[in-house]
């Protein structure tokens, strides 16, 4: 495929620090795209879906690739940590094994080595695995601009297909996954309809906080790849609060999701099919989460 990137000349800027990167982005804003691993952006360039005048490469920016855990803070995933780093990180595996597994389900090992956590989140691809799990975990994105630093809850970060709450001059520097309650357990099911390394037809994340008696304090269910952004329905989640999660209740929640999503059609499944599979995978995700992370 010898499709090159249109007629526009692209200048590549290589800032050497976070400050320089923020300054470059402030200067060029709409004319620039930030590039890290490039696995998504180079595809968009090749297909002329974007045609920036400047690429601001973060390849020489130090200090943004840490993956650490702090008590009371939670997991901090630097924007330039590779997906593979997040997948294999001992602290991610220890504190949130579901999240580590989810990063391990992205594309193939080559893409995971090159692609970054920050790139994945800021691309806001509707058919990517980590966003819906990060939403369920109530992670926050840290953004820097000349106007300062702000944290954006991922529940508000994803706006629509490839659209985020980041302003044109804001650089995503970190994802913070807050400490999860002791009784919380999660699952993520990636349903693929083609080959194993394909993007999901449906991604279903269930997050359940149970008390000592096994009664549900809080249920969160997020569905990825069915619409422009991860889908979550508080009305359905509320059905589970204060209840034991038996087959009837789980079925009710699953049915609610199937009825209330506005599913898209793409090569991985029609809207009709996605609606039916949503009911199946919401149920299975809840069941799997109940079976994970301690006795029920």
């Amino acid at each position: 495929m010898r499709v090159f990137f249109g007629m526009r000349d692209i200048d590549i800027l290589e800032p050497r620090s976070v400050e320089e990167a923020v300054a470059a982005l402030a200067q060029h804003g709409d004319e620039a795209k930030v590039i890290a691993g490039g696995t998504a952006l180079v595809l968009m360039l090749k297909n002329q879906l974007v045609s920036p005048a400047y690429l601001i490469s973060l390849g020489r920016v130090p200090g943004l690739d840490g993956v650490t855990y702090g008590a009371g803070v939670g997991l901090r995933l630097g924007a330039l940590a590779s997906i593979r780093q997040a997948e294999t990180s001992a602290v991610v595996r220890q504190h949130c094994p579901t999240l580590a597994e989810t990063f391990g389900k992205v594309a193939n090992v080559r893409v995971r080595h090159a692609a970054t956590v920050g790139g994945n989140v800021s691309e806001a691809d509707y058919a990517s695995d980590p966003p819906c799990v990060l939403v369920a975990l109530r992670a926050r994105a840290v953004a820097l601009s000349p106007r300062g630093r702000r944290e954006i809850p991922l529940t508000e970060f994803f706006r629509d297909f490839y659209e985020t709450a980041l302003a044109a001059d804001e650089l995503l520097t970190e994802i913070v996954v807050p400490e999860q309650p002791a009784g919380a357990r999660q699952s993520y099911l990636k349903f693929v309809t083609r080959s194993s390394e394909d993007r999901p037809c449906i991604g279903a994340c269930a997050w359940i906080d149970l008390d000592e008696a096994g009664v549900c304090r809080e249920l969160r269910v997020t569905l990825g790849a069915v619409a422009g952004k991860p889908q979550e329905f508080a009305e359905a989640e509320a059905l589970a609060a204060g209840q034991r999660l038996g087959p009837d209740l789980i079925g009710q929640v699953a049915q609610y999701y199937a009825e209330h999503i506005d599913p898209l059609s793409d090569a991985r499944g029609s809207a009709w099919y996605r609606r039916r599979m949503a009911a199946v995978f919401v149920r299975r995700a809840i069941e799997q989460a109940l079976g994970a992370g301690g006795e029920v």
Binding site: F5, G38, V42, N108
Partner: protein, 161 residues
């Protein structure tokens, strides 16, 4: 727009002038004449353009050449400089290819796998190599070759191969 960058490919440094929109795949084939690096899908799915960058397998079709500057890039040409590499020998012994278009990608991905995990299980091999496609369907033989290469590369077996 052109940019002069210093690329380090198979241990040799070379200054090349690259268009900012050219991928590493383009430059390795056109400037370095390294034709083991192949374009299959052009979208990072097939693995035919796999190269090792800083020891990690990546799709050279998704990496802008200018952004590979000063990084260690390895193609399969560097593997067999002193006779076949044990991984290559295992692929030959198991006839783990038919047309061989995908073979360089499989060899490099296998090299990275065995450096990370010297004794992988078949399931781990499948997971790591899932993104390398062989349209001839030599997967069973590739699996045999990878597991055999792992045995051959074990320190205890170094003298036996």
């Amino acid at each position: 727009m052109k940019k002069t960058v210093r690329l380090r490919v198979n241990g040799l440094e070379q200054e090349v002038s690259v268009a900012t929109h050219h991928t590493l795949l383009d430059v390795l084939r056109r400037e370095f004449k390294l034709h083991s690096v192949r374009e299959g899908c052009g979208i990072g799915m097939c693995g035919a353009c796999t190269v090792l960058v800083e020891g990690k397998p990546v799709s050279s079709c998704l990496l802008l050449a200018a952004l590979a500057a000063e990084k260690d890039v390895v193609t399969v040409e560097a593997l067999g400089r002193q006779g076949l590499h044990p991984i290559q020998q295992a692929f030959v012994d198991h006839t783990a290819f038919q047309c061989s278009f995908c073979t360089p990608g499989f060899l490099l991905t296998t090299k990275a796998l065995l450096e990370e995990n010297p004794a992988p299980t078949p399931e781990q091999v499948k997971a790591y190599l899932a993104g390398n496609l062989c349209r001839c369907g030599s997967y069973m033989k590739i699996m045999d070759a990878v597991l055999d290469a792992a045995r051959r590369l074990q320190p205890a077996n170094a003298n036996a191969t």
